[in-house]
Amino acid sequence: MSGTAPNPSAAREAGPGASRWRAGATAALMAVGVAVPIYAALTGDTYLVALASRILVYALAAVGLNLALGFGGMVSFGHAMYLGLGAYAVLLLGASGVTNGWLQLAILVIVVGVVAAVVGTISLRTRGIAFIMITLAFAQLFYFLFVSLKAWGGDEGMSLPQPSSFGPFTGNRTALYFALLATLAAALAGTHRLVGSRFGLVLRATRVNERRVRALGTAPLPYRLAAYVLSALLCALAGFFLANLTGFVSPAYLAWTVSGELIVMVVLGGAGTVVGPVAGAVGLLVLEEGLKALTEHWMAILGPLIVLMVVLLRNGLWSLLPGGVTNEARR
């Protein structure tokens, strides 16, 4: 394995007291998630739901990327591509008459699954920085493809003809929010189970020492590829929500900067921890929001803050909670 992979939890002391902190923080996050629309309904501050929905979309995408990047050591610099594919699926299917949300989801899973399998098969031939760059290349290919698709709005993007149809919940923003929250919770629960399963063991071991995994009798490629596809599907799901949330789809969703931001969220929150990416997404977007209220030159503050967090935190926000990494075991 190349040195590119993060080494997020070189050693985890599985003390029961330690993991309680993290479980508590996760529960607190979820409780806040549930409380937001209730608070918004009571105070009439409906914008809060819009803000929180967008954060949840990116949190979901970050949780997806984390599966490849954090647990699998596959540093994809092109996951915005799947976010965009998910969003465009809603537009393209909606415009061609497929408005049923479940059907859209089913088609999305198949199409993105196939695309991710092909892209993953080619990309996983490479390691380290080459993998970073080849995933970027594929994302750029799709970006420019959608930019030149005039019929679908080109770079200007296009409004959805109608939101995905889910019976009485169609177009309901609160319903959308809770669907997002439930999906994120399911993704987190799924990740939690996956990480400790046979599949998860192979995936995580491969990140650290691929050679050893082979010598123990397991060919890592199918598992890495599966994790890559799964991670792409989660991002596509986030894109599906993003399209419905904004009622709009544009190639800007596939821009390389979005891929970069997803990486920032994952690493900032804690790559290779289950809930870290959520903390990263919340942290980054709330920070942006707060700094922008402060000054128009907010990037001049955000930049150094990111540097500081990398230097001081090493393993992300989530590692601030006990039960995390012990530095002594980190090389």
Partner: protein, 252 residues
């Protein structure tokens, strides 16, 4: 007579113009310990890598139980019964000791596309894993992070992982590397306890270990087997002494 469990014939590896493995032949039966010794740079690790499949051979054959596995990939050889350990400790530091061994036990029990049930909750996997840990004397440490284990314990874990894929042939690459005298003795004992179950190819610098364990010794110099015999014959051989010129270990 039936074919030997592991048969290596005419194995060759070249790096550029350099012959690293020079027509090596080996045959191992179950219950037999065959030690490969030789000075640094003799090509011992390369030989193990060739047998295990990590390094492609330029010529020669590797047969396991009569089947030609020369072209097989590493993981297929491992599943067919070739277990190897590494000279440089090659464990997953962020895993617990038990998880490290589970990674191995699950490898030989069907595919791993099972993503929901925690491995540690599967008796069918945990029971054999714990057996291996017990064999290696690590059962008490099974819930500790591998990265936090003492070096000696990590070497034992290395061996436990190798055993957990239920191999028939063990390729041990300097299992005693870096161990103190007490730890070495302990590991020799472990190997003595289990040797009857496996065919063992042992690459080792520690001559105490070699003479205590080996049935046969091959002396490798510049990739070529220059001498083969029992430990006693090796001790007496002038060829070996010449190869090890100035190396006191042989005198011990």
């Amino acid at each position: 007579m039936a074919a030997p469990l592991l048969a290596v014939s005419g194995l060759v590896k070249r790096y550029g113009g350099l012959l690293v493995t020079d027509r090596v032949d080996l045959a191992l039966e179950a219950g037999e310990v065959h030690a490969v010794i030789g000075p640094n740079g003799a090509g011992k690790t390369t030989l193990i890598n060739q047998i295990a499949g990590e390094v492609a051979s330029d010529e020669g054959r590797v047969e396991l139980d009569g089947r030609d596995i020369t072209a097989w990939p590493v993981h297929a050889r491992a599943r067919a019964g070739l277990g190897r350990s590494y000279q440089v400790t090659s464990i997953i530091p962020e895993f617990t000791a038990l998880e490290n061994v589970l990674l191995a036990t699950q490898s030989v029990r069907g595919h791993n596309f099972r993503g929901w049930t925690p491995v540690t909750a599967q008796r069918a996997l945990v029971a054999p894993a714990e057996q291996c840990l017990e064999l290696a004397g690590l059962l008490a440490h099974r819930h500790r992070s591998a990265g936090l284990l003492a070096y000696g314990a990590q070497r034992q874990l290395e061996l436990a992982m190798t055993l957990a894929i239920e191999p028939r042939v063990l390729l041990l690459d300097e299992p005693m590397a870096g161990l103190g005298p007490a730890e070495t003795r302990e590991l020799i004992e472990v190997l003595q306890r289990i040797r009857h179950r496996y065919a063992i190819l042992l690459v080792e610098h520690d001559m105490h270990a070699v003479f205590a364990l080996a049935d046969t010794c091959s002396v490798l110099v510049y990739g070529k087997v220059v001498f083969r015999g029992s430990p006693d014959e090796v001790r007496r051989s002038s060829v070996v002494r010449e190869a090890y010129l100035g190396d006191e270990e042989i005198a011990a």
